[in-house]
């Protein structure tokens, strides 16, 4: 309240970043780490909240959330919603988050048939029945890309997106520019 006009210049606030992998393979996270020594520069600018890097279990208020992987079960939905609630900017990272990707290959099969085949018919696994422990998240009928459930602000395509694309996205966001990947960094394989 009534802060003096000539207050000491505020040091640039570190950007808070959270990351997670839903129905993904962590390949996007691995690609992210491929920014190599630039990660030291990055750590001067950002602070990680919930992320496989920090092992923090729940996400607090953040500036940026990076989501790898699509939605294949109820837990994915809860995590995604936690991110959306806490992150000012949410980015869908990689093919699975954007299109469902490899896990969505099950979408042309009926989930009931899959469960039956794996847990009842299959010779080796088929003895124990379909797992129904409340601890386990139920799979969704179909695998969905994340933008079908929450609003997504930016999309970082690629399987995985190249390290330079992560770097471009983050540096653009830090500088307050609308991120643009441009030729060479924008690809879908």
């Amino acid at each position: 309240m009534n802060a003096p006009m000539n207050a000491a210049p505020v040091t640039a606030k570190k950007l808070k970043v959270a990351t997670t992998s839903l129905a993904g393979c962590f390949g996007c996270h691995m690609s992210f780490l491929d920014i190599d020594e630039r990660i030291l520069k990055l750590l001067e600018l950002v602070e990680f909240d919930r992320s496989p890097i920090t092992d923090i279990k729940h996400c607090g208020p953040c500036d940026l959330g990076l989501i790898e992987g699509g939605l294949c079960n109820a837990e994915n939905v809860h995590v995604l919603r936690e991110f959306r609630k806490n992150c000012k900017i949410l980015v869908a990272v990689g093919a699975c988050a954007i299109n469902g990707g490899l896990p969505a290959q099950r979408n042309h099969l009926d989930l009931r048939d899959i469960l039956e085949e794996v847990y009842q018919t299959e010779y080796l696994l088929g003895r124990a029945g379909i797992p129904n422990d409340p601890e386990l998240p139920l799979p969704l009928n179909k695998v969905h890309p994340i933008h079908e459930v929450v609003k997504v602000d930016y999309f970082l395509p690629g399987c995985p997106p190249p390290a330079d694309a992560f770097w471009k996205l983050l540096t653009d966001l830090l500088a307050g520019r609308t991120p643009t990947l441009g030729h060479g960094l924008m690809h879908y394989d």
């Binding site: 109820a74 797992p131 139920l138 179909k142 459930v149 929450v150």
Partner: protein, 599 residues
């Protein structure tokens, strides 16, 4: 005759010419009912094309079957006007009677029932195509009879003839439909004048293309005339674009039914001006039933000395050939149409070069709309000054409007350019009208406060469609029908259109299911901008027009469907766990998902 013999006969008739592939495939399919892999291989061998190129063409057109189809293939025209006349209930009833799912061939291989894009019978819908024969005015009673005939396996050619009667429904005539020209009169006048003077008359008549874009016909003919032919066999061509695919348009159908001589005469005049010896009429596959009547008009003209060599003793040689399309809206774009004429998938070319310099078979080609060519006869006979005296300053002459939807007298109305929307509505007996879709889905949606606007290139440019919607209609559903149309008709060549049209359709479906939010409306606007700027051809450029127009003019029709002001999932999340719940027998809290994001 064995299958091979049938194929070989067709191939011989088409001179084993690969550029005639679309015709070859159609003729073979008409006899063998589908195009088997062996058939395609055989054709490829004989015409000397790679097998992949032949199957590429066969797979592109929706009227070609590369999988075995039912003995009876029933396609319901699914334009919004057919829907307003209750086609969905009829199709549903038909599927129930035949124990069928839409789009599936029945177990016994007898019949399949599905939808198709507008078949150009909007003034007498709901319409169906049965084995590609058009049947208008479907009713529950006729449906019952039809199902009986299908069960008895009675050939379509033996079905009651009156079912196939397509009416012209000409409601208002002006200079074109009221013309009193004798066959050959206009052509004779054109040949008397000579090509240069005839071209000058067309320019003086300020004739503009009637396909919607309104390009000057005189300039087009002149550019084609001036362009030199290429290669060892230089030639010029006239192509008449009768691929009338724009939903809600059916004027060309009527012109080709009752004014075919005028159209062919216009093609001949164009030929004499540009220096062509050959004209091609590209007739949309939905109008297959017009092929034989048109062929006999051509035969009559040949015997009357109006086609062939030394026409009217003036040393002019010209003849016309008819090509049929096979259910691809995009072929209405002139360069896609030329690709199709050359036996390829109908994908628009990169322009320039424009068809007037490099068109059909790489030769200078003028592609004109059916109505434009017919109108050129009036100019030939009466002169450019006479023609230009009709209409407005920038839009000379008259325009045929295909009126359909909520009105007492749907059909063809011809007006001098400059007529107001209100006047047309009055004449066709439309009451309590809330909107008119002018020029089809790719055109413009006009709301009641704009009914004083005029049909003319300087105000409402149109290819002819005029679909009327009264107060009871839901304009969101109108736009959604059009979004489905474009998603189906995108040729798939460029990403903005291929992906964009599907995204637009999915968003419209999401809003229709009651899962929409303002975010989705923003997405629609974003897609509109992107597709308009980045698509390869006019299809993608204009595919969002109906959504954009209705969002601006009928926004409440969208807003009352929105679930909330926050983002909403595209589907019912809790229902998405239903199968896993069923299989695990779980019903605890963890086995459910709320549809609202938890606070």
């Amino acid at each position: 005759m064995s299958d091979t013999q049938i194929i070989d006969t067709v191939l011989a008739r088409n001179r084993h010419d690969g550029t005639r592939l679309v015709q070859i495939l159609r003729e073979i399919q008409e006899q063998l009912s589908w195009l088997s892999p062996a058939t395609l291989t055989h054709i490829a061998d004989r015409i000397g094309w790679p097998r992949a190129q032949v199957s590429g063409t066969a797979a592109f057109y929706s009227f070609f079957h590369t999988r075995q189809r039912g003995k009876y293939c029933v396609l319901w025209s699914d334009n919004i006007t057919d829907r307003m006349l209750g086609n969905a209930d009829l199709m549903d009833a038909m599927c129930k009677k035949l124990w069928l799912e839409p789009g599936r061939v029945s177990e016994d291989g007898l019949v399949s029932v599905n939808t198709t894009s507008c078949t150009g019978l909007c003034d007498q819908g709901p319409a169906v195509l049965v084995n590609y024969r058009a049947i208008p005015r479907m009713t529950q009673a006729r449906l019952g009879e039809m199902v009986g005939l299908i069960r008895e396996q009675k050939p379509v050619s033996e079905w009651p003839a009156e079912w196939f009667a397509v009416e012209d429904n000409i409601r208002r005539k002006d200079i074109l439909l009221g013309h009193e020209l004798k066959n050959g009169q206009a052509l004779n006048a054109a040949l008397e004048r000579g090509p240069q003077a005839m071209l000058a008359e067309v320019k003086a008549g300020r004739l503009r293309g009637r396909g919607g874009a309104g390009f000057s016909t005189g300039l087009k003919w002149e550019a084609c005339r001036k362009a030199a032919g290429h290669g060892p066999n230089p030639a010029h061509y006239v192509v008449c674009n009768a691929d009338e695919g724009e939903p809600g348009t059916f004027k060309d159908r009527v012109l080709l039914t009752s004014y075919a001589d005028l159209v062919f005469e216009g093609m001949s005049i164009a030929g004499s001006v540009v220096g062509a010896k050959k004209g091609l009429l590209y007739l949309r596959g939905e109008y297959r039933y017009l092929l034989e009547p048109l062929e006999s008009v051509l035969a009559a003209r040949r015997s009357a000395g109006l086609l062939g060599t030394n026409i009217l003793g003036k040393g002019f040689d010209f003849d016309i050939e008819i090509h049929l399309g096979a259910g691809a809206y995009v072929c209405g774009e002139e360069s896609a149409l030329i690709e199709s004429l050359e036996g390829k998938p109908g994908r628009p070319r990169i322009r320039p070069p424009f068809p007037v310099t490099r068109g059909y078979l790489e030769q200078p080609t003028t592609v004109n709309n059916v109505e434009t060519l017919a109108a050129s006869c009036l100019i030939a006979a009466q002169g450019g000054a006479w023609y230009a005296a009709h209409g407005t300053e920038k839009s000379a002459g008259s325009k045929l409007l295909s009126v359909s939807g909520d009105c007492e007298r749907p059909g063809i109305y011809e007006y001098a350019y400059g007529v107001t929307v209100r006047q047309v509505l009055e004449d066709c007996g439309a009451t309590d009208c809330q909107a008119v879709q002018v020029s089809g889905p790719s055109g413009i949606c006009v709301s009641a406060d704009e009914f004083n606007r005029r049909i003319a290139f300087e105000d409402l440019a149109t290819a002819g469609a005029f679909m009327v919607f009264d107060e009871t209609r839901d304009m969101f559903e109108v736009a959604r029908n059009f979004a489905q149309f474009f998603a189906h008709e995108s040729c798939g060549f460029c990403t903005p259109c291929r992906v964009g049209t599907t995204l637009v359709r999915n968003l419209m479906d999401k809003i229709a299911r009651g899962h929409g939010s303002p975010y989705d409306i923003n997405e629609l606007f974003k897609l509109h901008r992107l597709m308009q700027g980045a698509s390869h051809c006019g299809l993608g450029n204009s595919a969002c027009n109906p959504v954009f127009d209705t969002l601006n003019k009928f926004r409440p029709a969208y807003e009352r469907r929105l679930k909330s002001l926050d983002y909403e999932p595209a589907f019912d999340l809790d229902a998405a766990l239903s199968q896993a719940r069923q299989m695990t027998g779980r019903d605890d809290a963890g086995a459910h998902l709320s549809n609202e994001a938890e606070a």
